[in-house]
């Protein structure tokens, strides 16, 4: 037999964030003994271990003035065609095409202070998904070699695997720019699931067994690998890449044969009623799948809602199909998580790479606008109940008062997930790089 080591490649030995560590480190000063310190460590680890994140990513950039930050008093060429409706939070309104979300606004807190300068999709994705600026060339390829890791990859690097399921999963048909591990290396990329969970024949490419291969047959096959490696005197764990590869094979087998993983992908286990509630479309069922994955042990799941790049026919596209899909899936997720008592340890974020121009263009569309973003947060100890941090000008053209950088956004997300946002990494040139560049968590967002 191959002696595989624990399938947790990058878990930190203490499982503590720097902040927690500093706190524990100072405890004995106040007369707390070692036992208590260890106990508090265990608590810290448990709290950290239970936290997960679901990112609903509105790919293309979602219009803020048509959704969460409406300006009914602005001239019509700004406020657009949609009307605000009242919500579960008195005084707070939301777009008429988000009626279900309106009933969940008490489970959402908003941040309207984030601005950045990425006006093209690729650079904007890099800003919003990693916190860092990135200037791509005309082909949207990175200029220079530093591509930063996205939030999920940093979470995977710092917290590692929880069980048989990988820590970071992406549910997207076409892929999301810069939604990968960047300089941290492909081992921390998300597991990508491009399939449509709304289809009856939904299978997870390379994770579901190929046709004709039973779980028993795979196990039999695997026993032969072990035997072959033994013949080749490769019984030891090996070193370097050989050891790493063995570990990934172990993880791959665990994932493929894991009853928990198999179960997580079985959407049919959910009631028809609940599946209807999430919406019978790719986005709705992917959001439901995200909840199941998080329950099964995945730390960070990104669900892509695509088509938000509404340069023309903005109102037609948003009215149908964009907002109705988001409306059912997003509202169902919040309600469902809360019903199951999991909202307090699941961070839900809804955002895109930028907002859209507040003034409607000649094609009844809106263009790229990174100066204004409405980011919705729920759960995991953040303020909800309709809390709104910051405000935008009357025509939604800019943030009024202090703004926050995307580094602050990153630091807020990391802090919420108990991930060290000050950790130093090294890129391939061995140049030191911090997780965020001096990002500061937006304290107002924390309950």
């Amino acid at each position: 037999m191959l002696s595989f080591s624990e399938p947790q490649p990058s878990r930190r030995c203490d499982g503590l964030s720097r902040r927690t560590f500093l706190r524990v480190g100072s405890l004995p000063f106040f007369g707390l003994g070692l036992a208590e310190a260890l106990a508090s460590r265990a608590v810290a680890r448990d709290a950290q271990d239970e936290l997960s994140c679901i990112l609903l990513w509105c790919d293309g950039g979602i219009s803020t003035v048509d959704t969460f930050d409406m300006k009914p008093a602005a001239p019509v060429e700004y406020r657009g065609e949609f009307k605000p409706i009242s919500t579960s939070v008195p005084g707070l309104t939301v777009c008429e095409h988000l009626p279900q979300v309106a009933r969940q606004m008490h489970r959402i807190g908003q941040c309207r202070t984030i601005e950045h300068t990425g006006s093209q999709h690729a650079e904007a994705c890099h800003f919003m998904l990693t916190g860092w600026p990135q200037v791509p060339d005309v082909n949207a390829q990175p200029v220079g070699s530093v591509v930063h890791p996205c939030y999920g990859s940093v979470v995977a690097e710092q917290l590692g695997w929880r069980n048989d399921l990988p820590p970071f999963v992406q549910l997207s048909r076409g892929g999301i720019k810069y939604h990968h591990a960047g300089y941290l290396g492909s081992a921390l990329d998300p597991l990508k699931i491009p399939g449509d969970p709304n289809r009856d024949d939904f299978r997870v490419e390379d994770v579901s067994l190929p046709s004709g291969i039973s779980s028993d047959r795979l196990t039999r096959r695997r026993s032969m690998i072990d035997q072959l490696d033994e013949f080749h005197r490769l019984t030891e764990q090996g070193a370097g890449d050989v050891a790493a590869r063995n570990q990934f094979y172990q993880q791959a087998f665990d994932l493929v044969t894991s009853p928990a993983a198999k179960k997580a992908f079985q959407l049919a286990e959910e009631s028809d009623q609940l599946r209807d509630r999430y919406g019978r479309h790719r986005e709705g069922q992917a959001t439901l799948l995200a909840r199941r994955l998080v329950e099964a042990g995945v730390r960070f799941v990104t669900v892509e809602f695509n088509g938000y790049d509404t340069h023309d026919k903005n109102f037609i596209e948003l009215r149908d199909p964009l907002l109705p899909k988001l409306d059912v899936a997003y509202s169902a997720l919040l309600e469902d998580l809360d019903d199951r008592g999991r909202l307090e340890n699941t961070l839900v974020i809804c955002m895109g790479e930028f907002g859209r121009t507040p003034k409607v263009n000649g094609l009844a569309g809106r263009d790229h606008y990174p100066k204004v973003n409405s980011i919705c947060f729920s759960g995991a100890g953040l303020k909800m109940d309709g809390f709104v941090h910051g405000r935008t000008s009357d025509k939604c053209e800019h943030v009024v008062g202090a703004t926050n950088s995307t580094h602050d956004l990153a630091a807020t997300i990391f802090q919420t997930l108990h991930v060290d946002h000050t950790k130093e990494y090294h890129n391939v040139d061995s140049r030191p790089i911090l997780t965020t560049d001096n990002g500061r968590p937006i304290n107002e967002m924390f309950a």
């Binding site: 220079g144 070699s145 492909s186 291969i213 096959r221 080749h232 090996g238 391939v428 030191p432 911090l434």
Partner: protein, 726 residues
């Protein structure tokens, strides 16, 4: 050791009088510290100017200093002129933030940096108390540092103290051991203290970098293994072996045994032509009684058509052949140029020259694509330095290189070789498929201006563009000049790493004084030989592959020399993505269908990554987005494991009609023969008796014979021995 120590003392004695006379006593320094000479070292040593702290581009906490402390005037102004005398307040020195922050009397993001009463504290305080005077001369800089010893051999747990002497631009010399910064490259081997004491830990070889205000030096540290009792028995085949063996003697290592014929044949095929040998080729090589058959095999492989495919692919990764830069037609033009250069075995200096001085139409001269992959003169400069010289200049665009002497002048001097060209297109641009015409001109093109305009300059030598005609010819001359130490070293190091799995310098394209080769004499010998051969790549490959060191057996995990720094054994490394895909297809008897190319096109023969392939993406083919070799990854990951073991695609190939398994079954091949064949097409060696037996049991236990063989081949494909070169 004692002799070396004596000479250090001698050097110190000789230096001492000058120091006393020119620099005044150290009390003088403490009494009237000079900003550049005394205060800057304190700031740098305390870490204030680090990239993570106030040396960052945005500064920290609203306070910015120059990165690595290379701009004293800037730092003086930041301390004294900004912040209304809060940072430095001569009236009440102890209230100065520059003292209170690093003492952690007030909250400081960087924590406590020095103690009250420490030398750093005293110098800073005394400078402030004197009225925080400007430097006598802000142009004053460190002209040179002398580090001793430069080369140390220490047994584990031994230590040695470094001595650093700085010579300032005004001639003053000082012992700056206390103020220099130290960094050990491999702390497991040897560590270095803040005060410059090197402490040996475990056997190996590493470097310690010493830096002081813009000057950097490397100290080589060797920590020998326990001396082996047995004498070294090793037959050198050529000069490579002598150099490598000399190091074994020095550090007390012994090589493993030589590789057997089967191991050698697989290695040679994979390394020289990126292709697995067929069962017939393996059998005939093993059976060949000739004593020089290994050298003969290398010669045969160098003439194979796959040699052109494989090395064109490697060059195309380096040169970034990709349609995204030059459109479809431009890409084919560039690709065909690369293939021709490899096919005709052009000397590397010719390849270099043709790229640098290329002109004319993109469609008729593919080499001009060099100017469309990077369009910006500054980036062309970076690429040229990295590709042909192995020098990473990127850092110097914005700041002095932390570990090298490259300055912004070097950076822009190089960029200015690329401003004197004119590009004509018919309006649609090369990236969208149109043609382009490149023509050298004698005056800088306004459209190609860089942010620092100066005369073209390489290695500090300025070129007069009015005399040069096309200045790029001067650049090509200087780069390929046999006297240029970087050019040949860069290329022999790259090819050495392709064949040996590890460069004499790592990373391979990061040659610098502070990153010395593990075997300096071998590097020199290879470089000299390369120049003598007329920069002949095939000759270089032949020399390396016929050395005894190349032909040592492999070890997954060696007890000693784990990183393979001393080449005592062959290390395992994963096959590059295209080589692995071809190997899988060969083993299962399938051909790949790539979009727009004839069925059966090999993955190593693909022109660019514009050709879709999930397998190649998953296994990390080069995206050809950077001239750095680091852009290609052959690191294993989860996605790869899942794909190879559990994908529909691989399962289909295993079971395909006309595939290897189906063919074996249709021909009613006897089990022994069939099993033998499966081992030969994956592991490139016949199965042992034990393996035969186990495989046979395994196959016959399956529900059907076909399933049994599919499962056996699947297991071979997923075994470590298949995916790795060894």
């Amino acid at each position: 050791m004692s002799l070396r120590t004596t000479s250090i003392y001698l050097a110190l004695l000789l230096l001492a009088p000058t120091t006393a006379v020119r620099a005044g006593s150290s009390e003088d320094a403490a009494a009237r510290p000079d900003f550049v000479r005394d205060v800057m070292p304190v700031l740098v040593k305390s870490g204030c100017n680090g990239g993570k702290c106030h040396g960052s581009f945005q500064g920290r906490g609203g306070f910015q200093l120059s990165l690595f402390g290379l701009d004293a005037e800037f730092d003086y102004s930041a301390l004294v002129r900004e912040s209304r005398q809060r940072r430095v307040s001569p009236a009440a020195p102890d209230r100065s933030l520059i003292l209170r922050k690093p003492l952690a009397e007030v909250p400081h993001g960087g924590g406590q940096r020095f103690q009250p009463g420490s030398e750093s504290y005293r110098i800073l305080r005394s400078w402030i108390a004197n009225g925080a005077p400007a430097a006598a001369d802000f142009e004053l800089h460190v002209a040179d540092i002398e580090v001793s010893p430069r080369d140390v051999t220490l047994n584990p747990d031994e230590h040695v103290a470094l001595q650093i002497h700085a010579r300032w631009s005004d001639g003053v010399q000082r012992d700056v051991t206390r103020w220099a910064l130290y960094e050990a490259r491999d702390e497991q081997c040897a560590a270095v203290t803040d005060a410059g004491q090197i402490e040996a830990r475990s056997p190996g070889r590493t470097t310690v970098t010493v830096s002081f205000l813009g000057q950097v030096r490397a100290v080589n540290v060797t920590v020998p293994y326990a001396r082996p009792a047995d004498p070294l028995v090793f037959e050198p085949y050529n000069y490579i072996d002598e150099h490598v063996a000399a190091e074994w003697e020095k550090v007390g290592l012994r090589p493993v045994e030589s590789a057997g014929d089967e191991e050698f044949v697989r290695r040679a095929y994979l390394d020289v032509i990126g292709t697995l040998p067929t069962p017939e080729e393996i059998r005939s090589f093993v059976a060949d009684p000739a004593t020089d058959k290994r050298a003969q095999l290398i010669d045969t492989l160098l003439k194979r058509p796959e040699y052109v495919d494989y090395w064109s692919y490697r060059w195309a990764d380096l040169l970034r052949v990709h349609r995204r830069y030059v459109g479809d037609k431009g890409m084919w033009s560039f690709w065909n140029w690369v293939r021709r250069a490899v096919r005709e075995n052009w000397p590397v200096d010719r390849i270099t020259r043709e790229l640098i001085v290329s002109k004319g139409s993109l469609f008729s001269n593919g080499a001009t694509a060099y100017y469309f992959v990077d369009e910006d003169p500054a980036q062309l400069g970076e690429t040229t330095a990295q590709l042909f010289l192995g020098i990473r200049m990127q850092c110097a665009e914005c700041h002095h290189h932390p570990y090298e002497t490259w300055s912004q002048a070097d950076y822009y001097g190089l960029a200015n070789f690329f401003t004197r060209i004119e590009i004509k297109d018919n309006g649609d641009g090369a990236r969208y498929g149109g043609t382009k015409l490149l023509r050298p001109v004698t005056t800088p093109n306004r459209e190609r201006r860089v942010s620092m305009n100066m005369e073209p300059m390489l290695f500090g030598q300025v070129v007069d563009p009015t005399e040069a005609g096309d200045v790029r010819t001067v650049l090509a001359d200087r780069i390929t000049d046999p006297e240029n130490p970087w050019f040949a070293r860069n290329f022999v190091n790259r090819f050495w790493s392709y064949l040996m799995g590890r460069g004499l310098v790592e990373p391979v394209d990061d040659l610098r004084a502070t990153n010395p080769p593990t075997h300096p004499e071998l590097m020199d010998a290879l470089a000299a030989d390369f120049i003598d051969s007329g920069c002949d790549v095939k000759q270089l490959i032949r020399t390396i592959c016929t050395s005894h060191v190349y032909q040592l057996a492999s070890r997954v995990e060696a007890d000693v020399d784990r990183d393979g720094v001393f080449y005592t054994h062959r290390r395992y490394h994963r096959l590059p993505a295209p080589v692995l895909l071809d190997a899988v297809n060969f083993a299962v008897g399938a051909t790949e269908e790539f979009n727009g190319l004839p069925r059966g096109t090999r993955a190593i023969a693909l022109p660019d990554p514009g050709i879709q392939s999930y397998f190649l993406e998953a296994f990390g083919r080069s995206p050809r987005s950077s001239p750095c070799e680091c852009a290609t990854t052959s690191k294993p990951d989860l996605i790869q494991a899942l794909h190879l073991m559990n994908s529909e695609a691989i399962q289909k190939k295993l079971a395909a009609p006309g595939g290897r398994i189906q063919t074996l079954l249709k021909q009613e091949t006897p089990d022994a023969e069939a099993i033998e064949q499966l081992f030969l097409v994956t592991w490139s060696r016949p199965s042992t008796e034990e393996e035969q037996q186990a495989a046979l049991t395994f196959v016959t236990q399956a529900d059907t014979r076909q399933e049994g063989y599919e499962d056996l081949l699947w297991a071979l494909l997923n075994s470590t021995s298949f995916a790795f070169a060894h």
